[in-house]
């Protein structure tokens, strides 16, 4: 077991997959000569050359579409968005091409490709650069959506995503690239679609993913000090969702709080809430609480940003509302 950063775990995943399959290539802004805006792709250009590590002009719709076309023709593109905020200009390529071409062609075409990059708020970048896109990309069929929070999950799931024969949206976190954790020395894969219990507990089920994970774990610590024992479930895959893992925990705790980075209206948060109330109705002893972004455009000022983003303290309040409801 080696202690490495999420950044390095992602690089290992890309490197190993490019090494074992020469149809895998990576394309995006500054991924090559600059070694990646966040250094995820450092060294890959030297190893694999300009045809497989491709710097692009600033044209997200263009290179996302090139990825779609290359995948249809038998390659396995990894399309990097410098951040997912910039994928908004490529939304049509993902929604109307990547997610639909297999169905439209009645299965004649396969699109083994990954769209990856940092998602959600970083630090003091204001509203255009602080958005969580899972609410948009989980909202339609035809793609899989993954969001990782540890080096182990990052490597194992990115390798699975690259080998998956479907379009996969893969969310990383700019503020978590340096987070360290243990990763096995040998090759391993983590199956897409499986949640992971990051902290066992039996009083309140806390569902989270991505940048929400460290917040949820910190909140669970605070709750423990309060005498509330939380089970923290990291979804890891948002579509398809491991609903059973969530339900199993809720059947045990009878209470659930959802803690994540993202806006409150709709999205993955509301989806989990709906599934729990529908599929574990008789088990719920309290309404499901959501702790996420306030329904606001992210301000630049640090003190304001800290209020909009879910903090462990605010998450704790949510957990307490759930724990002490009708108690």
């Amino acid at each position: 077991m080696a202690e490495i950063q999420i950044r390095e775990a992602l690089r290992q995943a890309i490197d190993e997959e490019m090494g074992r399959d020469d149809t895998v290539f990576i394309m995006g802004e500054e991924v090559g000569h600059y070694n990646g805006a966040y250094k995820v792709t450092e060294g890959l250009l030297d190893r694999y050359g300009e045809q497989r590590v491709v710097d692009t002009p600033i044209a997200e719709a263009g290179f996302a579409g090139v990825g779609v076309g290359a995948a249809m023709a038998g390659l396995r593109p990894i399309i990097e968005f410098m951040t997912f905020n910039f994928s908004a200009v490529a939304f049509d390529q993902i929604l109307n091409n990547a997610a639909k071409l297999r169905q439209l062609s009645n299965g004649q075409f396969t699109l083994p490709m990954v769209f990856r990059g940092p998602n959600a708020a970083a630090h003091m970048l204001s509203s255009t650069h602080s958005q969580a896109f899972e609410a948009f990309y989980c909202g339609f069929p035809g793609v899989k959506v993954i969001s990782v929070a540890t080096p182990y999950d990052a490597k194992g799931l990115l390798k699975s995503a690259i080998r998956d024969d479907n379009p996969v949206i893969f969310f990383e976190s700019e503020v978590m690239y340096s987070v360290k954790g243990e990763v096995p020395d040998g090759e391993y894969l983590i199956p897409i679609g499986q949640a992971d219990i990051k902290r066992p507990g039996d009083q309140v089920t806390v569902v989270t993913w991505g940048q929400g994970v460290p917040v949820a774990l910190a909140a669970a610590e605070l709750a423990a000090a309060d005498g509330i024992d939380c089970e923290v479930i990291d979804l890891r895959t948002l579509r398809p969702m491991d609903t059973e893992a969530v339900l199993q925990s809720v059947r045990k705790t009878n209470r659930a709080a959802l803690i994540y980075h993202g806006w409150p209206y709709g999205g993955t948060g509301a989806e989990i809430s709906d599934r729990i109330q529908r599929l574990a109705f008789d088990h719920l002893d309290a309404p499901i609480e959501r702790v996420c972004y306030e329904d606001l455009n992210m301000p630049y000022a640090e003190n304001l940003e800290n209020l909009v983003i879910p903090s462990p303290e605010r998450a704790l309040e949510g957990i307490r509302r759930v724990a002490y409801f009708n108690v």
Binding site: G62, G65, V68, G69, A70, G74, S105
Partner: protein, 341 residues
């Protein structure tokens, strides 16, 4: 614009092999009759949704299909029946797709706007204007990557030149010198809007230098000439991996789709273009220059019409898709599950 504004001499009759011309004429006629049959079925309420006909532009698909080598790809718009027929897709399957039947080209999933026939080289009819241009560049990127020698031909309407995706796709093809040919089928209108109200310039190949592309531009009067000039661009892509931008001046004799009465243009304008309809030009030449008799021409038409009647019968007698079919082809696993039963 008027059809004569971009002059281009056509190959001297001597060099024009009558059998070749008869073959290409027959192919053009197959497309026209297919579209006419589809239009009839639509009017009878047997086909629904949007139906965009290729009538008037047949020479382009026929010349293209005649030049394609195995592995070459056509990527086009929702106006895609002509290419499907020209590329050898079964007209029964094409018609059945319009009917939304199980035997359709894509099993009833896509309908008129979304034809796909990978084996025949039709890599798609795309319904979002401009959205297919980067995808076509991606096919060409893969060809360069795999050195498979295939050429990608990307067709788009003149109305698709102004949207971002088209610009980005062409820009990347120019930057990376991809083996691709972009062909603008300038049929003068985007729905009801003439080019003059879509663009400040009339000649769309003016864009080529900014992508460092060679360009060509001509009026589609003659299927031979169109084939010859397209061939140069295809060779440039195949031999030198150099992209080309071509603007073809053509015309659709029907409305934008079946629901469009096309009130925005004059009878006179339509007539002007009908005078140079490549299909009639070929028919006239076969008859007047190559002594093909009225009867022979009629028997060609009869055979083609028979094929299309059979296609309609096939479509009408085909079953609907199985209800479970809607669950397939979203994720690869779905189909595995499906095949596993």
């Amino acid at each position: 614009m008027s059809p004569t504004s971009a002059k281009s001499p056509s190959a001297p009759v001597a060099a024009r092999d009558p059998d070749e011309l008869r073959r290409l004429y027959t192919e053009m006629l197959r497309i026209r009759r297919f579209e006419e049959s589809a239009a009839r079925a639509y009017t009878q309420g047997k086909i629904s949704g949007f139906l965009h006909l290729y009538i008037g532009q047949e020479a382009i698909a026929v010349a293209t299909a005649d030049l394609m080598k195995p592995g070459d790809r056509v990527v086009t718009t929702y106006r895609d029946h002509g290419f499907a027929v020209a590329l050898g897709c079964k007209t029964g399957a094409c018609m059945a797709e319009l009917y939304g039947k199980k035997t359709g080209l894509v099993g009833g999933n896509g309908g008129s706007m979304h034809f796909f026939a990978k084996e025949e080289g039709l890599w798609g009819g795309y319904a979002i204007v401009g959205g297919h241009v980067p995808v076509a560049a991606g096919h060409a990127y893969a060809s360069k990557y795999k050195k498979d020698g295939a050429v990608t031909l990307c067709f788009l309407g003149e109305g698709a030149m102004h949207i971002g995706a088209t610009h980005e796709g062409m820009h990347l093809a120019g930057l990376w010198r991809l083996p691709i040919v972009f062909v603008i089928e300038n049929n003068q209108y985007a729905m009801g809007t003439p080019l003059s109200r879509q663009s400040p310039v009339e000649d769309l190949t003016v864009r080529a230098p900014s992508y460092r592309m060679t360009s060509d531009r001509w009026v589609v009067r003659d299927v031979f000439e169109t084939r010859d000039r397209l061939a140069k661009a295809i060779d440039r892509a195949r031999e030198e991996s150099q992209p080309t931008l071509i603007e073809l001046l053509t015309y659709r004799f029907r409305g934008h789709s079946m629901s469009d009465p096309a009130k925005y243009r004059t009878k006179d304008e339509v007539e002007k273009w009908k005078e140079i309809d490549p299909l009639h030009r070929a028919e006239k030449e076969l008859h007047e220059e190559h002594g093909v008799s009225e009867d022979e021409l009629e028997s060609i038409d009869d055979k083609v019409t028979e094929e299309m009647d059979a296609a309609v019968d096939f479509a009408e007698s085909s079953p609907l898709p199985d209800p479970e079919h809607r669950f397939r082809n979203h994720y690869v696993e779905d189909d595995l599950a499906a095949t596993e039963g």
